[in-house]
Amino acid sequence: MTSVLTAPAVEPPAASPRGRRRARRSPRSAPRSTLTRGSALGLGIAMVWFSLLVLIPLTAVVATAGEGGWDRYLSVLRNDQTWAAVTLTVGQALLVTALNVVVGTVIAWVLVRDRFWGKAALDVVIDVPFALPTIVAGLVLLSLYGPNSPLGVHWAFTEHAVTLALAFVTLPFVVRTVQPVLEELEVDVEEAAASLGARRGTILRRILLPSLAPAIAAGAALSFARAISEYGSLVLLSGNRPYETEVVSVRVLTFIENGNTASAAALASVMLAIALVVIVALDLVQRRVARRG
């Protein structure tokens, strides 16, 4: 599982191999509690709130979905319209993630290694999709790619609209995970490779890319998870046309609005499972990097 605590910063930088092994084993072998009375009370209240807000509701989704057994899942997924939504969502999410892997890495590279006028502005604009309300993101894209497009394209209510919306909301993920890693790379490592005879291409391929790969993978996972669950930016832009531009989130919403919470829960739990898989994958990647030090 990914966790705020597995960030590499937690590892003591100069821990001896023995010390590190011990540190890693300790949580498993009967963790002792160092809570005081006050902090235990704080933890208790926080846990009650966390359960009421997150744990119990998510459990409710899984439980409601489970009531109908496997048949429920099968019948929900067998529905042509739902299946079309699933394939569209997964396909578009993969496409956009691939796009982000390439363009996001290029943007991170340009932000770190290039120097030009206006770079600081570019750096700030990258964060706009994080800060902008999703519904506004849809409206914003509609103004350039919709009916009155100054470009003369009319992509609203087409599959392109889905690609655009997902690309918009997921843009920062790869950039923001790769950028700090690229900044931290030591220049002398590249120089060492050069003095051993490696040319530019070889250094890129055998030194830089492998060092960036974990960050790229982490960014890709985040962007895939976000793309697969996106809703707000698609509402105005894609038109939610069944079989064409309807994504899974919209499908879930339709089930909810029709009062069919059981089907909604079944489909939602499939999405939860995908999210979970992504989180686990992310954590595995992070741990490999932490080991590398």
Binding site: V189, E191, A193, S195, L196, A198, R199, I207, R292, G293
Partner: protein, 341 residues
């Protein structure tokens, strides 16, 4: 001559880091570049390696003009102060890196027969080198699982693997603690006696340079102050800077002398001896340090052994006469002595 540096000038903006710099370094030797921080040692080394370009001048390595060659083609091994390990590769893969680049540029497909032959050859060579730097049992570890000293030995093996014409080390032991540092420099000396590759290493620790190097180049402010064997530099320093940088100095009678090169006695035996009184006596282990206040108002530091001090009968407040011993290294003191780093 293995490395010839002629007329190298390097500027960073207005700042001149190297000023018309000339030096010839003979083949097969272990040379130390010694000097205070900011003197231009790293800059010189990086220019020799092709990692930086000079603004003027030329560099030739083993008779080949290397001035225009990129780092990839210079055939030099470079060892960095902070190791510059490839973190994602195991120790063995780190060492194999340069060999693989040379064998097939990483481009030959894995199934090619030639590549298998290369593989076997490279594996053998890597094993040899890991043996040489005593890291055989760590071959499959990642660099993060090594200590600093082990990482630096790995970096050295990696640089040596490609059999470079010259080996350049930029403060290779600078990031290590004093004890490991001392071990490693003795080990480097022995390694050099075994491998005999022309080696240049940068240090600002004079003890390290005196102990390990065949020859020392003292660099200050982008210029050469003196070149010579450790003995020569210690015994015949060219100027006050070199003298001050290589050991303690004190000033007697307008001359710079080493404190252990001063003869001290209770009676005026020699003509020209300077008269003074012992102001302080300090015992440190086997030696005695005396501070003598001369009649001209100079404060002279004298070092002698305990036995010697007792024989002379030194005590605080007694009157003594000082003369530099015959054959001592002396340098005329300039009115304003330059700071010695």
């Amino acid at each position: 001559m293995s490395i010839e540096v002629r007329g190298i000038t390097k500027r960073f903006g207005d700042f001149v880091a190297l000023d018309d710099f000339n030096v010839l370094l003979p083949s097969g030797q272990l040379t130390a570049l010694l000097g205070p921080s900011g003197g231009g040692k790293s800059t010189l080394l990086r220019i020799i390696a092709g990692l930086d370009r000079a603004d003027a001048g030329s560099v030739s390595i083993e008779g080949v003009d290397a001035t225009g060659l990129p780092a990839q083609k210079r055939d030099v091994g470079f060892v960095f102060q902070h190791y510059a390990v490839f973190k994602h590769l195991t120790v063995a893969k780190n060492v194999a890196f340069g060999l693989e680049i040379r064998a097939h540029g990483g481009l030959r497909p894995p199934w090619a027969a030639q590549r298998r032959a290369d593989r076997a050859r490279i594996d053998r060579r890597v094993a040899e080198l890991l043996e040489l730097v005593h890291l055989s049992q760590f071959a499959d570890r990642l660099p993060s699982q090594l200590s600093g000293g082990q990482r630096q030995r790995m970096a050295l093996a990696r640089a040596l693997a490609v059999e470079p014409k010259v080996l350049l080390l930029d403060e290779p032991f600078g990031a290590l603690d004093a004890k490991v540092r001392k071990e490693l420099r003795e080990w480097l000396r022995r390694l050099h006696d075994e491998v005999h590759v022309t080696t240049v290493f940068v240090t600002h620790d004079q003890e390290e340079a005196l102990e390990v190097a065949d020859e020392i180049v003292v660099i200050n402010d982008g210029r050469v102050e003196q070149i010579g064997t450790p003995d020569r530099l210690y015994d015949e320093p060219a100027n006050d800077f070199v003298m001050g940088f290589l050991g303690d100095v004190t000033r007697v009678n307008g001359q710079l002398v080493r404190p252990h090169d001063i003869d001290i006695s209770r009676v005026p035996l020699l003509a020209g001896a300077v008269e003074g009184t012992v102001a302080r006596l300090l015992r440190v282990g086997f030696e005695v340090r005396a501070t003598v206040l001369t009649d001209d108002g100079e404060e002279v530091l004298v070092q002698l052994t305990r036995t010697h001090a007792r024989a002379v009968g030194l005590e605080e407040g007694v009157t003594v006469w000082l003369t530099p011993v015959t054959g001592a290294a002396t340098v005329p003191a300039l009115p304003s002595m330059r700071s010695a780093g």
